[in-house]
Point group: C2
Chain length 343, copies 2
C-alpha cells in the first residue's frame, strides 16, 4: 500500500488497519505510517493526542461487516477514545491548551473538522485521562451494570468476572458501596491480589488455577444475586449454575468469545426460567446522557481517595498494537491506556 512509504517532510504518525484478523489479532493486522502533518481549516481544531484508550470492543470493530458499532475500514486508521490537548483552534468553542476527548484516529496529531465530536474535559473533575477511564465510558459501564441493572441489595452477593479489568475494578467497588458482598475472578494471581488489596473485593479467585464451581461454592456460599458478565463462555455458564432465584445478569461483554472462530454456545440456559434470571445486555453508548450526572456523583470518590482506579500505561503510539493484543490476552491490570506524549 502506498501508505507504507514514508515520504520526506512528514512528521506525524498514524496506525492503520492493514488486515482483518481471523481469530486472534496479531501485529500483521496493523501498519504504522508516517503521514503529513494535518493542517487546520476554518472552524477546525488541531489536537495533540495524549492518552489513547484500548478496549475489548475494538476487536469487534476489526471484523468485516457491521456489529453494534460500524467496522473499521481496511487501509484506514484505527479509531478509539483519545484524550488530547488542543494545539491550535480556529473554533471559538475550544481554546489552545484545553483538554478534550473524542473518538479520534490512532495518530499523534489529528485535525477535527469543526471540532465535531470533541468534548471539553472539566479540569476540576480529576486528571485528564480519567475522562476516558474511570469518569468515562468504562466507569459508566461499571456503574450502569453493577448498580442500575444489577440492583444489588445490602447483603447480596455480586460476582464479577474480569475483576481486575478496566470495568471490573470499578464494578466491584460500586457494588461494595451498595452494601453487597463482592466476589471476583481473574486470570492471574497478581490480578486476584489486586482485586483484593486495591479494590476491596471480599473474595477473588484465579479461574485459570481453580475449578470454577468449587471456587463459587466456597466464595459465594449464599449463591450469586448479581453476575456482572465481562467474559461470557464457561464463566457465564458457571454463574448460571450458582445463581439464586431472581438473579440479575448485566451482560457487558463476552471477551472470551471475541477471538473465537467457532464459539461453543452457552449451556445451562434453562436456569433462565428455573431461576427467573434477568439478563440484560449493556452497551454504554445507550447511556451517554447519564455521563455528566455520573461524573458529578463519582468524581469526589476518586478525589477523596474513597475509590481506587488503576491505569496500566503503555508508552508510545507505536506500541498501541501490541498493547491491544496483550490486553485481549489478559496481560493488563486495570484500564489500559497508551500515552502518546507527556501531559
Amino acid at each position: 500500500m502506498s501508505q507504507t512509504k514514508p515520504e520526506q517532510g512528514l512528521t506525524n504518525a498514524r496506525i492503520l488497519l492493514d488486515k482483518r484478523p481471523v481469530g486472534w489479532v496479531d501485529e500483521s493486522c496493523f501498519l504504522i505510517e508516517d503521514c503529513a502533518e494535518p493542517s487546520c481549516g476554518p472552524q477546525d481544531v488541531l489536537v495533540q493526542a495524549v492518552w489513547l484508550s484500548l478496549d475489548p470492543y475494538l476487536r469487534g470493530r476489526m471484523n468485516e461487516g457491521a456489529s453494534y458499532a460500524p467496522g473499521f475500514e481496511l487501509g484506514k486508521p484505527m479509531v478509539s477514545r483519545v484524550v488530547g490537548r488542543i494545539l491550535q483552534s480556529k473554533n471559538p468553542r475550544f481554546n489552545e491548551g484545553d483538554y478534550v476527548w473524542g473518538f479520534l484516529d490512532w495518530a499523534r496529531r489529528s485535525v477535527v473538522s469543526r471540532g465535531e465530536g470533541l468534548h471539553r474535559i472539566d479540569p476540576t473533575l480529576g486528571r485528564p485521562s480519567l475522562a476516558i477511564s474511570a469518569l468515562g465510558m468504562p466507569g459508566l459501564t461499571a456503574w450502569v451494570g453493577a448498580i442500575e441493572l444489577g440492583r444489588p441489595l445490602p447483603g447480596d452477593t455480586v460476582y464479577i468476572s474480569s475483576a481486575a479489568g478496566a470495568v471490573g475494578q470499578l464494578a466491584g467497588q460500586f457494588a461494595k458501596r451498595a452494601g453487597a458482598r463482592v466476589v471476583g475472578s481473574a486470570g492471574s494471581d497478581e490480578k486476584v491480589d489486586f482485586a483484593l488489596a486495591k479494590c476491596g473485593f471480599d473474595a477473588a479467585f484465579n479461574y485459570k488455577t481453580r475449578n470454577m464451581d468449587d471456587a463459587l461454592r466456597e466464595l459465594c456460599p449464599r449463591g450469586i444475586d448479581v453476575y456482572f458478565d465481562n467474559v461470557g463462555g464457561s464463566t457465564l455458564e458457571a454463574a448460571l449454575r450458582h445463581a439464586n432465584v431472581g438473579a440479575r445478569f448485566p451482560i457487558c461483554g463476552m471477551i472470551s468469545e471475541y477471538n473465537a472462530v467457532d464459539e461453543p454456545g452457552i449451556k445451562g440456559m434453562q436456569a433462565m426460567f428455573a431461576k427467573r434470571i434477568v439478563m440484560t445486555g449493556l452497551l454504554v453508548s445507550d447511556h451517554l446522557h447519564k455521563l455528566p450526572a455520573y461524573q458529578a456523583r463519582v468524581a469526589p470518590w476518586f478525589r477523596n481517595g474513597e475509590m481506587y482506579f488503576h491505569e496500566d500505561i503503555v508508552q508510545g503510539l507505536e506500541r498501541a498494537p501490541p498493547a491491544l493484543i496483550g490486553m485481549m490476552k489478559g496481560e493488563a491490570i486495570g484500564k489500559r491506556l497508551v500515552q502518546i506524549v507527556a501531559e
Copy 2:
C-alpha cells in the same frame, strides 16, 4: 412393586412414576394401579377428578434431584393440576358439587386433607376446565410473558415459538390486542394453519420444513422486538440473530432441551449486549397473586368470543401417560387435557 397387584374390592385407579426417564419419556416410566377408594376424615374433602392438565414442566419433575419444582418420588403418584368436583365434603369451605382445582395425584378420586391447596372455581368465569388452562397458569404465563415482560408496543413485531401450544396460542392473541404484528412458528402445517386461522397470527411458519432464517427474514421484515421463547435451542439462536436493538425475550420454557441428554448450548449470545436484549426468565408460580385480576380481565374476552382457546382433549386417566409423551413430541394442538369423567 406391591402396588402392581390389583386387590379385590379396589375401585379407584392412579398412575405412579415407576422409572425415571433418561432422554425421552416412554410408557415404561409409568405404572397404573388399582388402589383403595380413599376415605374422608374430619375436615377432609373427596374430589372426583374431571380434567387433568398435561404440561411440559412435568418432564423436569420426573428427573432425579431438585429443579425449580421438587421432583416426583419414584413409586408415588404423578401430580399435576386437576379440575375436580367435590363428591363429599367434611370441610365447611367446600360443598358437594363445587368445582375446584389444585395440584392432585393422577387418580380418579383423591381425598384432600382439610381441603388444603384446593381452589374453588368461580362458575361465572367460564367452563371449569378453563381454571387450569386459559384462565389458569398457562393463560397467566402467556399474559405475563407476552404483555408484562414482552411490553409490545403497537407496531412491534412479536415472534412466538410453539405458537399453537397451550401458552403460545394465547400469547399471540394477547400481543395482537396490544397492537403488535404477531408471527409464530410451530412444528406442523396443521399447527401453522391453526395459529393463522384460529388465533389470528399475522404470519406463521413450519420450522420443520422451512429454514428459520429465511422465514424470519421474510415474515419479520422489520426484525423481532419481542421473542416469546417456549423452546430454546436453535429457535432461540435464530431469534437472537433477527432481534432488534432493545428486544425483550421472555423465557418461558425450553422444551427442545427437556429431553436432551447432551444439550448443545446457545450460540450467538453476543447479541445480548450488541443488541441490548433483555432476557427474563418466567415461572408463573411467582405471579399467582395476579391470577384473580388476570381472570377478571380476560374471562370476558373468552365469554364474548373475542379470544379463542383450543383444548386438545384425551379421554381417560389411563391415557394420561401416552398423552404426555405425545405432547412432549409435539402432537397436541392447543392445551392438552385429559378428561377423567364427564363434567
